[in-house]
């Protein structure tokens, strides 16, 4: 019900907007706008989805696209929603195929005229199924440098949702960054097997603080809350939550959906959309990933070290390794 309501309302609002534009300008702008639909398995507030959702909303407001979306779609319902949008003549469908890798590819192959850009752990599929993921291992490495230099107990606690490649990759990069500046640093890692259970993430974080961690890697909502309550520092991930936790967020590895979304829209408009890996647009060189450091909390030394490494990454003299294996607590 929820998704239908939203689609309906969104379309209604878009229709109203289009109507007003038509009346004012006297020309049809709607034909220039690419029709884009997004299908999210989570609410659009979720960190990961929100990065793309906001980029799409911005493109919609610029008039580049006509954006509709459905949120909270279960994996069992995912194919149906894909088909519905494809049947409606949407040109570009964006979503997440992590739980429906094969079915999503099957649907895409039935609608060759539609372009699909899906978050996926597997390679793209010809002719129209492109993939992406939030490859922000580079900024994650940089936050690791800051954390590694700042920890006094040499113990960093990390709470993740599920141990899947997307999560593991960022955690491993973070750990590698911390170890590069502090060989004595130890990690305490746990997964809560849920994307969306902040009370549980908070409990897992408390357990790490009890075990001596003085910096928490906040992969999920709830971890920074624990850090703030216990008066220690946290490392943000994907989104910038510093304003919600004053004095707590030491550094964050941010993901920006804009470069990829803009490239995809451009490709669709130019008829150049191919079944390729759009994940690279999350790399720092494309502006899809960035690091933000609280300079008062981190101090000049850590900031300088992170900045120096960032230069190396951008100059391609240093490459952050992509490691998708499941991270584990230090011995």
């Amino acid at each position: 019900m929820t998704d239908r309501f939203l689609v309906g309302r969104r379309l209604f609002v878009s229709a109203m907007a289009a109507g007003v534009t038509l009346a004012m300008a006297g020309v049809s702008l709607a034909q220039d706008a690419t029709r884009v639909a997004a299908i999210w398995t989570v609410p659009v507030e979720q960190q990961w989805a929100s990065r793309l959702h906001l980029a799409l909303v911005a493109a919609d407001e610029r008039g580049d696209i006509d954006y509709v979306y459905s949120e909270n779609i279960t994996n069992t319902d995912y194919e149906r929603v894909m088909r519905e949008y494809a049947e409606q003549g949407v040109e570009l469908i964006i979503g997440e195929a992590f739980g429906v890798e094969q079915p999503a590819r099957a649907v895409a192959s039935e609608y060759p005229e539609v372009s699909f850009l899906m978050g996926s752990s597997l390679p793209p599929a010809e002719p129209n199924f492109a993939t992406f993921d939030n490859f922000i291992h580079e900024p994650s490495y940089l936050t690791g440098i800051v954390a590694g230099m700042k920890t006094e107990t040499n113990m960093i606690g990390m709470v993740g949702g599920y141990a899947i490649p997307e999560v593991n990759r960022l955690m491993n990069a973070f750990m590698a960054g911390a170890q590069s500046v502090n060989p004595d640093v130890r990690f305490s890692v746990s997964f809560i097997n849920s994307w969306y259970d902040p009370p549980k993430a908070k409990e897992a974080a408390f357990a790490m603080v009890d075990a001596g961690a003085d910096i928490l890697y906040a992969e999920r909502f709830g971890v920074s809350d624990a850090a703030k309550e216990r008066g220690i520092l946290a490392i943000g991930n994907v989104i910038d939550t510093a304003a919600d936790y004053p004095g707590t967020i030491l550094a964050s590895a941010l993901w920006h959906g804009e470069p990829m979304i803009e490239k995809a829209i451009e490709d669709v408009k130019a008829g150049a959309f191919t079944a390729s890996d759009y994940g690279i647009y999350a790399f720092m060189e494309y502006g899809g990933g960035s690091v933000i450091i609280d300079e008062t909390l981190a101090g000049p030394e850590a900031v300088a070290a992170a900045n120096a490494k960032e230069e190396e990454i951008l100059a391609k003299t240093f490459t952050v390794e992509i490691d998708d294996s499941e991270p584990a607590s230090s011995q």
Partner: protein, 315 residues
């Protein structure tokens, strides 16, 4: 074994166990009242969500924290009323109605949330209940930090255990509720209303379930997330059996589950490199199943559980 001892002997571990147990205490008491009156309420998972959303939303819109608790209870009670109408008055399948209530309450909660807040990007927050610190008592070694890191809702939950036990076993009303779940004909013979008692019990039980949800958004955390109830309601359904439908044992079961969960979190963080994390995540559920197997032999079901009642009917 040192690791295990270190974990169990820390006050913070027990504080975490009580915190994790609190929503379960509300939920299991609620389910217990319903089932004692003969009605299985599988709407619990959805009622948790409704309570979590309603309580949080009320506070977000300006109500006081206790006002939010009350509104959560009312929201839960309303879904309870619907369940009671379907199962007690119409005598429909309690399983089907309960699952339906869960689906309805979950979707309705998110629908309300999204309608009220269409354009938020990160979930808005409220100022939740803060831990109660009582000078003197908080300084008692071990017990002090374990108990007085808790928020007022935890104390409410503990209080309710005693209150419910008192009502069930020491008052005529409690006797009537127990009788209506065991032998409704005897209640009818007493001149009491079977329907009235059952509807009342389901509404009250559902209100308590909603408080379990409200604890999540108003004490354990400060924002509402879709899916944050994450199966806690279903655990309560198992805990009621574990508790043999007795409030004291219900408290014990909830605390045991909380302790298992707090334990696995700590163990995973400390020796996670030896055993895969999923094993730890399984642990509370696995131990609950083992505990159920051990107690289920002696399980003393309310005799009229799942049986609809028609006035004047003879069995």
């Amino acid at each position: 074994m040192d690791v295990v001892f270190d974990i169990l002997s820390s006050a913070n571990f027990w504080a975490a166990a009580i915190r994790i147990a609190t929503p379960l205490i509300f939920g299991v008491l609620g389910a217990l009242i319903c089932e004692r009156a003969g009605v299985l309420n599988l709407g619990i998972e959805g009622i948790f969500v409704a309570g979590a959303m309603a309580g949080w939303m009320a506070v977000f819109l300006g109500a006081g924290l206790w006002g939010g608790v009350l509104i959560a209870a009312v929201a839960g009670g309303l879904f309870g009323l619907l369940h009671a109408f379907l199962t007690v008055i119409l005598g429909l399948s309690q399983h089907v109605s309960g699952i339906g209530i869960t689906l309805l309450a979950t979707s309705a909660s998110y629908f309300t949330y999204r309608t009220a807040l269409p354009n938020v990007t990160t979930p808005p927050r409220i100022v939740p209940f803060q831990p109660v610190s009582i000078p003197g008592l908080s300084d008692i070694p071990f017990v002090g930090p374990a108990l007085f890191q808790q928020t007022p809702m935890t104390f409410l939950a503990l209080l309710l255990v005693g209150a419910l036990a008192l009502v069930l076993y020491r008052t005529p009303l409690g006797l009537a509720i127990r009788a209506v779940g065991d032998n409704p004909a005897s209640v009818e013979a007493q001149g009491l209303s079977v329907t009235g008692l059952r509807v009342g019990a389901v509404v009250l039980g559902s209100a308590l379930m909603a408080l379990g949800g409200a604890f999540l958004t108003m004490s354990a955390f400060d924002a509402f997330f879709f899916g944050m109830v994450n199966g806690r309601g279903w655990i309560c359904i198992a805990l009621v059996v574990f508790a043999s439908w007795q409030p004291g044992k219900a408290l014990l079961g909830a605390l045991l589950f909380g302790a298992f969960d707090a334990f696995q979190i700590r163990l995973q963080a400390q020796i996670g490199q030896v055993v895969p994390g999923q094993v730890f995540l399984m642990m509370p559920y696995l131990l609950s199943i083992v505990a159920l197997i051990l107690v289920a032999r002696r399980a003393d079901y309310p005799r009229a559980l799942l049986q609809p009642w028609t006035k004047g009917q003879r069995h």
